[in-house]
């Protein structure tokens, strides 16, 4: 069966851990130091969904600054799917994500989406911190995952879930 190539965007506010999520998924590594992504960085990884369709993901890690530029919107074009990310330690990142989602949907109305709440290693998940995040995912009818790139929790699962939606 032919490998299907798909452009996937990683979306979210700055510093929520998009690059760490990709590093964990593509390279299976994690770094504590924070380097902001300027513009866009592209990675590649093969993924199989539950039907064993093989996808070649071209993952566009797009800078997450508050101010939208035309360039960022141009980067969205042609995406088959996106992983939306918000930081469990920063509820404001969820607000920003809503506006990112709106703009992304305008450009790619048919794209498949998965939501990842990141940095679960920094919060007490059992205390219900994530409720706002799960509510947001439900409101937007998105499959969601509580993830940690550091502890390698639910990272690969998120991408495989996205592959299943394509």
């Amino acid at each position: 069966m032919a490998v299907i190539k798909k452009k996937i965007c990683l979306l979210g506010s700055f510093g929520v851990g998009k690059t760490s999520l990709i590093r964990r998924f593509v390279l299976n590594s994690f770094e504590e130091s924070y380097l902001t992504t300027i513009g866009v960085n592209i990675s590649r990884k093969r993924v199989s969904d539950s039907n064993e369709t093989e996808y070649d993901f071209l993952i566009w890690d797009i800078e997450g600054h508050e101010k939208f530029s035309q360039a960022i919107q141009n980067y969205y074009a042609g995406s088959a799917g996106a992983i939306l990310t918000a930081d469990l330690t920063r509820p404001d990142s969820l607000t920003h994500l809503s506006s990112i989602l709106t703009r992304f949907k305008t450009i790619n109305p048919e794209a498949s989406l998965v939501f990842c709440a990141t940095k679960s290693d920094l919060v007490d998940v059992s205390a219900g911190v994530q409720k706002t995040y799960t509510d947001w995912a439900k409101d937007n009818k998105l499959p969601y995952f509580i993830t940690s790139a550091k502890e390698n929790n639910n990272v690969e699962e998120s991408f495989i879930a996205l592959a299943g939606l394509l």
Partner: protein, 519 residues
């Protein structure tokens, strides 16, 4: 007696100590002078100056590394400061060294170039030199330019065929299969991102795109297409015709893969034949230098002379009334286009396309003919391009044609009018609706909305009902004539307004109509 002894002792002391006391006084005076000279910097410098050079010289000679360690931290800052404070002096000091180095490097490069050119001339004596001159005449370049191009070798490294929107690599061609390309997929993605960025960064009223990226001696030449673009990596000086070939290659790929590109969903299998097309189209460039030495060149010259003789005979001896409609008024030096003959040709052979001529332009650029503008469908574009090619005798490149806005404009102008209390389509509109159906079957659109209207007499419910029926009847007619049923929706507006141009009809009749909108 005691007094005498004391006096004698004093005298003895005088005799023994006077000399030492004088010496001490002199020493004290000298010490005082030395102290003063230490406090006085200028005096100290004057004192040490004669010895300092010897001291440093001795120290450097005794322990070089210690001196280096001691001076290293300040050397950088000192040089920087000196350059900033006395730039001209530094330049004057360094120029004899750096200037001669640069001169030497340039001289070496020129020597190599001269050597290569001389070798080419030596090799090309007799028939080959003659051939170069003929080649120069034909190509429009001087023989020197041709030799220079050969001396600064042009090389094609890679051609990437990249989906414009997603940045996904569709195909990759490498003439030299030994070359290594680190990650072609990421390269394609990043090139697309750079294009997207530069497009937004330098946004202007006119559509512009990034055309060339230079990296050291590599040039990445970008040839834009409607759905995909070519990124061509070259080094050296490309001959002018190379860019024409790239343009034609993009056009060929577009024509070959239009269907696959339109519905592209990530499967690149259909594009596996693209490298073969590239290889075939640019086969002549895979050697180290371009223009390459064509082993059949002499034969081609004979063919050309033969063809010229035949053309001469045909032109002068063929009877005028039998002259074919193709007008070849182009010269070998530059492409010309006769607009009047083109329009006449269209009217004669493609009368149905006459109306489309107002929305297309023929553009001459770099000795190439481009067809631009908007037409409702690709097949119309190809017919117009075919006519232009016949008239000009040259290849016509279909470029940046906007099919969608053309079909939108076309559809917006159409209205179908109905008799009172009737939803039956008048036979007078059959041809118009068949023509519309013909365009829609060829056009790339997602949805056609048919709006039905009535006049304002009668009950609102009845008006609504008949307006819906009128729209539905038109829909049926279009479907019967080949338009995809699931791409048409109908809406009845009753007597509520009309969006169509009704100036040509008076009164109530102008309200009883159907109009269209396409998306």
């Amino acid at each position: 007696m005691q007094a005498d002894n004391t006096q004698a002792f004093q005298l003895l002391k005088e005799i023994l100590l006077t000399e030492d006391r004088d010496k001490i006084q002199v020493l004290e005076a000298e010490l005082e002078t030395l102290k003063l000279s230490l406090r006085d910097k200028e005096a100290l410098i004057a004192t040490l100056e004669p010895a300092i050079a010897d001291l440093l010289s001795k120290k450097i000679s005794d322990s070089k590394s210690e001196m280096a360690n001691a001076l290293a931290p300040v050397m950088g800052a000192a040089i920087k400061r000196q350059i900033s404070e006395a730039k001209e002096t530094i330049i004057d000091a360094l120029y004899p060294v750096i200037g001669s180095t640069i001169r030497k490097a340039v001289a070496e490069a020129m020597k190599n170039l001269a050597k290569t050119v001389n070798e080419k001339i030596d090799q090309a004596m007799s028939f080959r030199l003659f051939r170069k001159k003929v080649q120069a005449k034909i190509s429009g370049l001087s023989a020197a330019e041709i030799l220079l191009n050969e001396s600064l070798p042009f090389q094609l490294h890679d051609i990437f065929y990249i989906h414009k929107e997603t940045g996904i690599l569709l195909a990759h061609f490498q003439p030299d299969t030994q070359s290594i390309q680190a990650n072609e997929e990421l390269l394609s993605g990043m090139l697309t991102a750079i294009r997207a960025f530069s497009k937004s960064a330098f946004e202007t009223e006119t559509e512009r795109d990034l055309n060339v990226i230079e990296y050291d001696d590599l040039h990445i030449y970008l040839e834009d297409g409607r759905y995909a673009y070519l990124a061509v990596v070259i080094s050296g000086i490309a001959p002018p015709e190379f860019y024409k070939h790239i343009h034609l290659l993009e056009n060929r790929c577009h024509q070959e893969f239009t269907t696959e590109l339109r519905g592209f969903s990530g499967d690149v299998t259909p594009f596996s034949k693209a490298p073969g097309i590239m290889s075939e189209a640019l086969g002549f460039t895979t050697d180290a230098s371009v223009p390459t030495t064509n082993p059949h060149f002499g034969r081609y010259v004979v063919y050309l002379l033969f063809l010229a003789l035949i053309s001469f005979a045909v032109y002068f001896l063929w009877p005028n009334e039998s002259t074919p409609p193709a007008v070849t008024d182009t010269s070998t030096e530059s492409v010309r286009f006769n607009e009047h003959k083109f329009r006449t040709y269209i009217k004669k052979f493609y009368p149905q396309l006459t109306a489309q001529l107002n929305s297309v332009q023929i553009v001459l650029h770099d000795n190439l003919i481009f067809l631009e503008g908007s037409v409702p469908s690709e097949s119309d574009a190809l017919s117009i391009a075919k006519a232009a090619a016949q008239v000009s005798g040259n290849t016509v490149i279909v470029d940046h044609l906007d099919y969608h806005s053309a079909i939108q404009n076309y559809v917006r102008k159409i209205s179908v009018y109905f008799k009172k209390n009737s939803a039956v389509i008048d036979s007078a509109y059959s041809d118009l609706l068949k023509q519309l159906a013909g365009h829609l079957t060829k056009a790339d659109f997602s949805l056609l909305t048919v709006y039905g209207f009535s006049d304002f007499t009668g009950a609102p419910d009845a008006n609504m009902k008949i307006s819906k029926k009128r729209a539905e009847n038109v829909r049926r007619f279009l479907v019967a004539n080949g338009v995809q049923a699931d791409k048409i929706v109908t809406t009845g507006f009753g007597s509520y307004g009309t969006e169509t141009d009704i100036s040509s009809m008076d009164g109530l009749a102008s309200k009883r109509c159907v109009t269209f909108e396409v998306k």
